[in-house]
Amino acid sequence: MEVNKYTVKDLMVPISEYATVPIGTTLFGAILALEEAQENFDHGKYQHRAILVLDDKNKVVGRLSQLRVLNAMDAADNYSRYEQLKIFKFSDTHIEKVSEKDRLARKIFTEEALKKVAKKLVNEFMQKPNPDEYVAETSAIDMAIHKMAAGAHQSLLATRGDEIVGVLRLSDVFAATFHTLKELEVV
């Protein structure tokens, strides 16, 4: 039986409806942008969970997920330090030992700590997109599922030529898959 052949374009959230902030925005500014985007977004029940960071030419240079924000709160001043330890080949055991020592030495949910982290810039915490996180908007959904599954990505950046035109979220791909399954009347 023929199933609905979705393309990336059919399911993606256009970039204009997604939460974006310019590079150099504070973490608090990014969270406000996310809140605003969620209020204006009324397609489906799944809310945005990430913020895209744009350079001065409006090109996507990074992504800030909710988990990244929590990481920022948890690591406070030490986030980039742990990143450096990873780059310079220290073991996870050592990094965990250092972060545990840091955790014990400070509290996260205090007014002072939260204010401090709110002023930090997204540049410090954003994740640069990997080459396998892009998918052409004309691609079949199969390609997107493959990329999400292989790379364990929560979302993909949909492209038209060199331009990023949307975000394909795991929740939307899953919803489309679920919807199709239901149509198949699997017993």
Binding site: L85, I87, K89, S91, T93, H94, K97, V98
Partner: protein, 477 residues
């Protein structure tokens, strides 16, 4: 456009192409940094000695104020006041051991510089890359003031001022100012300024990172500007003395140098300095009112001022020792800056190791016990305690530790022994142990006495001004 400008422009483009993945543009760091129209004012020179193969090929390059020793080839490059020292290159018919491989060499090793710009950079030692044992390549690379490329083949890299890469093959990397890397092999890595990383996989891993705001006082590079900071100011304060030794055709030795020691003709020695037996003083070293005990050495771009070095002290390339007293066998690593003051001197006990790129800048006297490892930025007693460890305590570490900005993981004993072995090798290579009871095995201190120097000149006028004619220099027969 002058030919030298075309050469430089092409180098910048090549380096940028290699660094495109890191989105790093070298142009702002080098544009206007050197005055290409002045490059015709400096001669280049090369050493001749019967102990080191003479084989120079200089092709379509500018070499202003640079020095060459041994087998070197320079193509489509711009070298400014750089030292290309091939006296430790591997020789034909020798065997290079790498892990379990015994690699037989069928020809003398070559320093092969291509499409690169090296500014006030030292190139020394030999390729530790088993894939290219006979070719120490430096290709599509740009290095700034007082960088050291030490036993480190390089392709597509940028080294900021005072950066050192030691015994490491690097490809497509950015090494920030005042960083020291010794890691065997690195690829596509961007290293922040003031990163000190010594990694031997399976053995140990040492990392220290300078606080960025504090490092800026000593060295900072801003796009479009010349490197600035105390390190640059310190060198500039002493530059005039070097002009005298480079301008004069012949210079009389101002002090007595023992038969077994060597004082380079392009070193500055000011009263009242004493040089003992088996001491090596390399070119561009600066000595003033200091004592260099038996077997000590002052390598290129070193400054030793108002200081006493008891004996067998290694002062590695670019290290600076001011108002300090060093007992015997103290190792002061690359580009370290021991900046004592009158009335607040630094004293360091026997067998201590000052890690490369350490800064001790104190306003109080600091006394460092024997057998101590020191690193990072130390400006007072509290920072001394934070940034040092007794070697015996380090030997006991078998997992990992963290002190301030320093992280160490692995076997402390292996780390200490690796350093001890390296220091011993440096002393031996430099001739510190030359003695009739030691089979009279010579090192640089003895061999360099037989070194003579020739100068070569660039085109002075026209489109080719500042570029040298293609030259091949080979011994007769």
């Amino acid at each position: 456009m002058l030919e030298i400008e075309k050469i430089f422009k092409r180098i910048i483009q090549r380096v940028n192409i290699n660094l495109r993945d890191l989105a790093f543009d070298v142009s702002p760091f080098v544009t206007g940094h050197i005055d290409l129209e002045q490059m015709n004012k400096f001669y280049a020179f090369y050493g001749i000695t019967s102990d080191i193969p003479l084989d120079l090929k200089l092709i379509h390059s500018s070499l202003a104020g640079s020095y060459f020793l041994g087998k070197c080839r320079v193509t489509d490059s711009l070298l400014y006041k750089s030292d290309i020292r091939g006296d430790e290159l591997k020789r034909k018919d020798s065997t290079f051991q790498y892990k379990n491989f015994n690699i037989d060499l069928t020809e003398d090793e070559l320093i092969d510089i291509k499409t690169s710009a090296l500014i006030k950079t030292l190139v020394h030692n030999y390729s530790h890359d088993p894939e290219t044992p006979e070719r120490f390549f430096i290709k599509n690379t740009l290095s700034l003031d007082y960088a050291n490329i030490h036993g480190s083949p390089s392709d597509g890299c940028f080294l900021g001022p005072f950066a050192t890469v030691d015994l490491t093959t690097m490809r497509d990397c950015v090494i920030g100012a005042y960083s020291f890397i010794q890691a065997g092999e690195i690829n596509h890595l961007e290293v922040n300024p003031g990163t000190i990383w010594v990694n031997s996989p399976g053995q140990f891993n040492f990392l220290y990172q300078y606080p960025a705001d504090k490092l800026q006082h000593y060295i900072q590079v801003t796009a479009g500007g010349y490197p600035q900071g105390l390190l640059i100011d310190f060198i500039e304060e002493h530059e005039e003395s070097f002009n005298r030794v480079f301008d004069a055709a012949n210079l009389e030795n101002t002090i007595k140098v023992p038969e077994t020691a060597s004082l380079d003709r392009y070193a500055v020695v000011l009263p009242s300095t004493k040089i003992c037996e088996n001491v090596l003083v390399a070119q561009r070293a600066y000595l003033e009112n200091s004592y260099l005990g038996r077997g000590s050495n002052a390598q290129e771009n070193c400054f030793i001022i108002n200081s006493h070095l008891q004996g067998c002290n290694v002062t590695a390339h670019g290290a600076k020792i001011v108002e300090a007293d060093l007992q015997s066998n103290v190792f002061v690593g690359f580009n370290s800056f021991l900046y004592g003051k009158q009335g607040s001197r630094i004293s360091i006990g026997t067998g201590s190791i000052v890690m490369p790129h350490t800064i001790i800048d104190c306003k109080e006297s600091l006394s460092i016990p024997a057998d101590t490892l020191l690193w990072g930025l130390i400006t007072n007693q509290a920072e001394l305690e934070m940034n040092s460890i007794q070697l015996d305590d380090l030997r006991k570490i078998n997992t990992s530790t963290n002190q301030g900005n320093m992280h160490f993981e692995g076997h402390g004993a292996s780390f200490v022994e690796a350093f001890r072995h390296r220091v011993n090798h440096i002393l031996e290579a430099n001739g510190a142990f030359f003695h009739e009871h030691n089979n009279n095995v010579k090192g640089h201190a003895q061999n360099n006495r037989k070194l003579s120097l020739n100068t070569i000149q660039p085109f002075l006028f026209g489109e080719m001004q500042g570029v040298y004619p293609d030259i091949t220099i080979l011994p007769q027969g």
